[in-house]
Amino acid sequence: MRPFWSGTITFGLVSVPVNLFPANQTSRVPLRTLGSEGQPLARKYYSETTERNLAADEMVRGYEIEKGKYVVVTDEELDRLAPDKTRDIDLTRFVKEDSIPPIYFERGYFLTPAANSEKAYKLLAEAMEKSGQAGIATFVMRGKEYLVAIFSDHGILRAETMRFPDELRSPADVGLPKKKKVPPATVRKFETLISKKSKKDFSTAKLADEQTARLLKLVKKKKAKRSNVVHVKGEEHENGNVIDLVQILKKSLAGKSK
């Protein structure tokens, strides 16, 4: 699998070419859409006026400037709108790792060394880990600008994309009431409650996807009972689109992705 994106981290005058892979994946069970005989269906785009199905090269991207009126914007234009220097992940600021409020965090990506950058990559990762700092940068990737915090996590650089300040509401925007002074005794009551229910650590076992587990259990039961099971001839080979992200990352970190 090709990386999601390839780019360069710059750090002073040091540049580190990197590949970027998502660190999040969906946990939901993929349910396929099937026809009445159980045959897998395909989703197609079509034109309402001609009723014809459309191939990928018969479609363009448009911004609705007024109702029903669109401005077409090409991939090339979106690409050219980003000046060269905005494509680099330029670490111009380092902040204490735990100083960023979580309200900013959006999603994670792993950065792996590319094009003989292992030495500079390891140096940056180790120096960041030792100093307990996260690097902050903005850069344009695939038609969108990102604000990121880059953390060194077990020797691997991980970028968390962050919301820009204008993508977050303030308590005043939401219309929350003015803060109230409350009697210290009430605060103490809650502090006692917090202490009583405090744990030293957080176990991610709590984050198991219950809903998917329930669906899988139901599927297993139905399969055992042979109720509602269909077999489609000629579909036996179709299982190639399950992507094992961990395997891809392992290869990339070992320098075998090229």
């Binding site: 750090f11 002073g12 040091v14 785009y45 400037i65 050219r80 390891k122 700092q133 198991a208 489609v232």
Partner: protein, 261 residues
């Protein structure tokens, strides 16, 4: 203008209950494009087709299936999906409190502001207590037929509830090998740490603006008036220097900058 609450519930800690309203803390500012067919420049529609004949399959005939083995599907009906829905509830149950640094950034997904809904005293007291004790609550609730695990946190005196990702959704660096390649020398490491310390500062979000989004919108507006500007092609050439000399030059440049400031 005040936002609209998206949900109402009750925070439950032991036997204590605090009624709250939920508001999204996020505003979507993505530049949204539509897919058009290139001849009519009209929005395209989607339909399900039989891949062999390319013929449309009527909505009533479509079913959902889970592939248990290649080519073998277990049909999952609407009734099946209904039967596994979690029981509806208005409770946001806080089961425990943990130090915030124990929850990695990777888990946080979407933030919601909580507003007091009748008991301001308890609401602000809980926010203050969470701040004083430096703890986040682990929350469990069901919203719109979906079970959530989340983190309850005080921010600037208000309560913020985050949905957390499922365990299966996050790849942990723990599960990955260290990158290949030789270890940096002590000298290089010290120089790199020095460079980091010269760039050290506070996280100040107000410094960052989405300039690209602005540029895209300006371009669209000019193109709509028939005056699209010419855009230069992208070139990406970079000269390489040795790691040591790049580090040394960076440090020298930053020190000079600091002295001048």
């Amino acid at each position: 203008m005040a936002a609209r609450a998206i949900w109402k519930g009750e925070l439950k800690i032991g036997s204590t209950k605090i009624p709250v309203k939920l508001y999204s803390a996020v505003v979507d500012r993505t530049v949204r494009f539509h897919i058009l067919d290139d001849k009519q420049l009209a929005r395209v529609k989607q339909r399900m087709v039989n891949p062999d004949s390319d013929e449309e399959v009527a909505r009533e005939e479509v079913q959902k299936g889970y592939e248990v083995e290649p080519g073998t599907f277990v049909i999952v009906t609407d009734e099946d999906l209904e039967s596994i829905k979690p029981a509806p509830s208005r409770e946001i149950e806080i089961t425990e409190f943990v130090p915030p640094e124990k929850i990695s950034q990777q888990w946080y997904e979407r933030p919601y502001y909580l507003a007091p809904d009748g008991d301001e005293k308890a609401y602000f007291a809980l926010a203050e207590a969470l701040e004083n004790r430096k703890r986040e609550g682990i929350a469990h609730w069901v919203m719109r037929n979906k079970p959530y695990v989340g983190a309850l946190r005080a921010q600037d005196g208000y309560l913020v509830l985050f949905t957390l990702r499922n365990a299966e959704e996050v790849v942990s660096a723990n599960a990955l090998p260290k990158p290949a390649g030789r270890e940096p020398s002590t000298k290089e490491l010290n120089m790199a740490k020095h460079l980091i310390s010269l760039l050290e500062g506070e996280f100040n979000p107000a410094e960052y603006k989405d300039e690209y989004r602005k540029r895209v919108m300006e371009f669209i507006e000019r193109k709509a008036k028939g005056r699209a500007p010419r855009l230069n092609a992208v070139k990406s050439k970079r000269k390489t220097t040795s790691l040591d000399s790049a580090l040394a030059k960076s440090i020298a440049a930053l020190k000079k900058e600091k002295r001048a400031a």
